[in-house]
Amino acid sequence: MKIARYPRVLHPLLSASAMAVALTASAPAFAHHSFNMFALDKVVTVDGTIKDYQFKMPHVWFYVVTMTKGGAQEEWGFEAHSPNLVARKGWTVNSLKPGDKIAVTMHPMKDGSKAGSVVYVTYPNGKVLWNAQSLNEP
């Protein structure tokens, strides 16, 4: 499944030098794992409905049901930082609940599987919850 099927917001690809900075920056401070499995040079937004939200160690995960152009349902998994880190960015144990409509801006998996590293989550009312440090820093 190509990520390009969800091009609602596609930020310009980062320059090679910006990528190098991002990867170097993550190296000394990576937490549970490195971010090498994610395409940090790609930022993609998908819309969908929350199926499950797990605010727990070692990483916050939530699962989103999306609709393809053909009308088929797909389930995506999204990873955020650990609860103690995202709590300082406004996340709580109740930030997302099944049925919530949200948009997830994320770095997709390099291998094309339906998962991504969250940059930020956008609510229908425009409220934004950041997970990443910036668009080019996980």
Binding site: T24, A25, A27, P28, A29, A31, H32, H33, S34, F35, N36, M37, M57, P58, H81, S82, P83, N84, L85, A87, Q133, E137
Partner: protein
Amino acid sequence: MALALAAGAARSAPDITGMWQYDYSHPPGHPPLTPKAAAVVALHHAATEKGYVRELSNMKCLPTGMPQLMVWRSPIEIMESFGRISIITEHDPGPDEPRTIYLNEPVQPKDIDPSWNGHSIGHWDHDVLIVDTVGFNDRAHLLGGVPRTEATHITERFSLSPDGQTLTDEMTMEDPQMLAGPWTVSLKFARMPNDSERLEAVCELDLDAIQKLDIAAIKPFDVEAQRMSDPSLHYNPGGK
């Protein structure tokens, strides 16, 4: 009178206690590696490109140790009590033991049992806290993924900005086996509000990931994989 002077001197030291957030957006640069260290780092990088994104020590929830415990995305908390400064962390993986910096030991003790955080002694030189740490085990890393050895020696100079809002840890790492020369980095910490909460970040043993791991493949550069291959180094070997 002497006692009063001593107490006065103690009070004049900058107050570095509190919650501090490491500025991880500014990585510390590149270490001068020995050929031996460069080979290990290269193996590690190659494996990362093939999907090795977590170390065995991480899956086992082992500490990260000094100096890595200083550079997480999560805060550190510096506390001071009689004769010592303690630094506690809040991160996954872990749990890291608190760091203790002994202020009343002028020289390093003999016969130090190698440990994750080493043995730290410190003193105030005017407004700078100078800390000397030795006695490390060989199961953790310096910064930048460089393996640590029992010969690692770290000195730190902690200083506070005039406004009290930035703490600088000028850290010099030495290790004749891994570093071609002293490697000095400048770590910056931003003061967090006094009422900042310290949150839990508990690491849980990941048996599933360990079972799927190809121990032989990572053994050349993963010290915990090497230990798993040596029964004498297993956890509690005498009890089995």
